[in-house]
């Protein structure tokens, strides 16, 4: 075995173990990110606080409110007495939606043309549109229930059925849990960010502390220096992948339907991209802060243009084209397909090839720019 190479690997590991900041970054930050994004970055609409102004105070109005209560989209947070109160609650952000039931609700229901008012805070369009759909669904379901009861009461023994019914089957993520979509993305983000930041700072730190000068004049070959510097972070990157995958699987219930070996292998290819970005940043930056900033500047567009939060299909064409320049885009397709859909390599060929080319390209560029010199 190459003594020179091993000597760098050993030295890097000792330094990592003795640096509390790096350790926190490696062990704690991925889990923190996972929990933050797993729970917070969710499009699920649940428990929308609802204010209710029930002017009818009848059996019928209470039945309607029970329908709202039964669905876990809403929870009735306030029972109010005036429309002014509703306005206050929505302005204060305490209620996100309100239901107003008019005083003649029971009477008009008997006549067959009852109306209720549903008021929605539309300042967050994503959750508002879901809440709106939910509210309409609840209203329709309630209406058909009443209709059915009416027929039964009138003694007509008809089988009432809507003429067309859409039967929906949701594949891969039947409960439409956002976490199942987010967590594979978090793996990608962590691999990229941690690998790039740790690599960049570990090189730049040598420059900052002046240790680079002594390192440069050793007979260590440039490739040995690069490989030796990166090896510990490859190991840590795999550790992070498995860590996030395990917590995602056992805590958030994210399925692992694809081949685990393939998942790890392709994550390794993506890791090379992160390491390459880090090495590249280290050839530009002079201080650790500059290195971090450089990595962050590549990370932000990566996240927004990779389909991490927002679907690429909804973006303007220019941004869609730009997204092809983001290696994270390919990894996200790969990891989501492998985890949620359990596809084989044949279904993700394009993304695997594109991601591999980016990994090779970025690493080559970084290695060419990396100089074993001070100037």
């Amino acid at each position: 075995m190459n003594t020179r190479l091993l000597s760098i690997v050993r030295k890097e590991f000792i330094q990592i173990i003795r640096d509390p900041r790096t350790l926190v970054m490696i062990v704690v930050i991925p889990i923190m990110q996972l929990f933050l994004l797993g729970y917070s970055a969710t499009n699920d609409v649940r428990n929308v606080p609802l204010a209710v102004l029930d002017r009818s105070q009848s059996v019928e109005s209470r039945a309607l409110l029970n329908s709202y209560r039964a669905a876990d989209y809403f929870h009735i947070a306030y029972a109010v007495e005036s429309e002014a109160e509703i306005e206050d609650l929505i302005l204060a952000g305490k209620a996100r939606a309100a239901v107003i039931i008019p005083p003649d609700y029971a009477q008009r229901l008997a006549e067959g043309d009852a109306q209720i008012a549903f008021i929605l805070d539309g300042s967050d369009p994503t959750s508002a549109s879901t809440a709106l759909a939910a509210s309409q669904l609840i209203g329709q379901a309630h209406a058909s229930k009443i209709l059915l009861q009416k027929f039964e009461l009138s003694g007509m023994n008809l089988r009432v059925q809507p003429p067309v019914e859409v039967r929906t089957t949701v594949w891969f993520n039947p409960d439409l849990i956002s976490a199942h979509f987010m967590i594979p993305g978090v793996i990608g983000m962590i691999l990229y960010a941690i690998a790039a930041i740790l690599t960049a700072t570990s090189v730049v730190r040598e420059r900052e502390r002046g240790t680079i000068e002594q390192l440069i004049v050793t007979p260590i070959r440039p490739w040995e220096l690069i490989v030796g510097k990166l090896t510990p972070y490859v190991v840590l990157g795999f550790f992070n992948t498995i860590e996030v995958l395990a917590v995602g699987h056992w805590w958030f219930g994210v399925p692992i339907r694809g081949n685990l070996g393939l998942i790890i292998l392709l994550s390794g290819v993506f890791l090379v991209t992160g390491l390459g970005i880090g090495l590249l940043a280290s050839t530009i930056a002079n201080t650790q802060q500059e290195a971090m900033l450089t990595v962050w500047m590549t990370l932000l567009p990566s996240i927004f243009l990779s389909g991490f939060f927002f679907p690429l299909e909804a973006m303007p064409k220019v941004l869609q084209w730009l997204s092809y320049l983001m290696p994270l885009r390919y990894y996200l397709v790969i990891i989501r397909s492998l985890l949620l859909k359990g596809v084989g390599l044949d279904k993700i060929q394009f993304d695997v090839i594109a991601m591999t080319l980016f990994a090779i390209g970025i690493m080559t560029l970084a290695a060419l720019r990396f100089r074993k010199r001070l100037d």
Binding site: T3, I216, P219
Partner: protein
């Protein structure tokens, strides 16, 4: 050691090195040669180009022009082979403060090619040599400045290099440690040199007073039973320093100014250039003494050395100045305690040479 045999005993050879930073010519046509068993001192003020010269020699910076050859390997073409031949101590402390003393030595030993079964005995031996064996498990960041420099020297020496490049190793180090440090360097060279003399009957340069001191030292250290005796061939040392007293301990000195080596010779030959041209004056008040001395037509320069003045006079003018200066001072109200010709020190020479090189 894969030592290139065609190079006889010229271990460092630089020719016409040039390096500029923007408009500044940091190193301007520097050439120097160092033989086995020789301590070469690169002397000059801050910013004279000493550090840049060192960095060009080790390939940490790329020269604009010129070439540097170490043990027969061109630093730009056979970079890593050349680097396996020398130990380098940079001006700024550049070992890992979060590693222990032994871990640092091990890293540099293995990085420079010592095998896993060689590094430990060799590291312990070198730590004993510099007197750090008791601190081998201490974190380097917790060492004193002097101990750090000794550790730096130990790391540079651990692979028994033929060439040692030390960039201002004693700057900012207390006088006692400075003394220790120099004794280590001298011990190293003199021990290896005796072997050189035995192996190859090369022409031996005449003994300087420094070398006499070195021989005494090596005999003393031999009595102490040091083990650094297996170095097969002579070591060449290049040391840069701003201190003139250190320069006088070198076999040869190159004076650097504005990126150029303006003079290069043995310390005694350099001093001889000003023989009979330096007067020492004691008296009071100093400002009057200085004023009067400066007025004399044959006085070239006046420098204060503590409570004395060193007066440099033109060639063969010492007697003239001696004869008239006392009375001139008295007529201006000054008092002369002593005025005599003294043997010049390197600092006098350096100042004289710096002035004569004004462009």
């Amino acid at each position: 050691m894969n030592f290139n045999p065609t190079m006889n005993n010229l271990l460092v050879s630089a020719s016409n090195l040039k390096k500029h930073f923007g408009d500044t010519r940091a190193v301007d046509d520097v050439s120097l040669q160092i033989k086995a068993g020789e301590i070469y001192g690169l002397v000059g003020a801050d910013g004279a180009g000493k550090t840049t010269t060192m960095r060009l020699l080790v390939g940490a910076l790329k020269a604009d022009a010129g070439e540097a050859v170490i043990c027969g390997y061109d630093i730009n073409k056979q970079t890593e082979q050349a680097r396996a031949q020398f130990g380098y101590l940079s001006q700024r402390f550049s070992l890992y403060e979060d590693l222990t003393v032994l871990e640092n030595i091990r890293f540099f030993a293995e990085a420079r090619g010592l095998k896993s079964n060689e590094w430990l005995p060799r590291s312990l031996e070198i730590l004993e040599f510099v007197g750090l064996e008791k601190f081998k498990d201490r974190r380097t960041g917790q060492l004193s400045g002097g101990m750090k420099q000794k550790l730096g020297l130990a790391s540079a020496l651990v692979t028994k290099p033929r060439v040692l490049l030390l960039d201002e190793p004693t700057t900012g180090v207390d006088p006692v440690t400075r003394q220790d440090f120099w004794q280590l360097v001298i011990k190293l060279v003199s021990q290896s040199k005796k072997l050189t003399a035995k192996n190859a009957k090369s022409a031996k340069p005449a003994l300087t007073e420094v070398e006499v001191e070195q021989q005494n030292l090596s005999e003393r250290s031999a009595l102490r039973g040091s083990k650094i005796s297996e170095i097969e061939e002579g070591v060449a040392v290049l040391i840069s320093t701003p201190y003139m007293d250190e320069a006088s301990r070198c076999h040869r000195v190159g004076l650097m100014k504005s990126g150029k080596i303006i003079a290069e010779d043995t310390p005694s030959n350099l001093r001889a250039r000003l023989n009979n041209r330096v007067l020492e004056l004691r008296g009071s008040p100093l400002n009057v003494l200085r004023h009067v001395a400066n007025k004399d037509q044959d006085v070239e320069d006046v420098q204060a050395f503590g409570d004395r003045l060193h007066i440099r006079v033109g060639e063969r003018k010492a007697d003239d100045v001696l004869s008239r200066l006392k009375s001139a001072i008295r007529s201006e109200g000054g008092r002369v305690d002593e005025l005599r010709a003294v043997s010049p020190v390197l600092e006098d020479v350096f100042i004289a040479l710096s002035e004569s090189n004004h462009e």
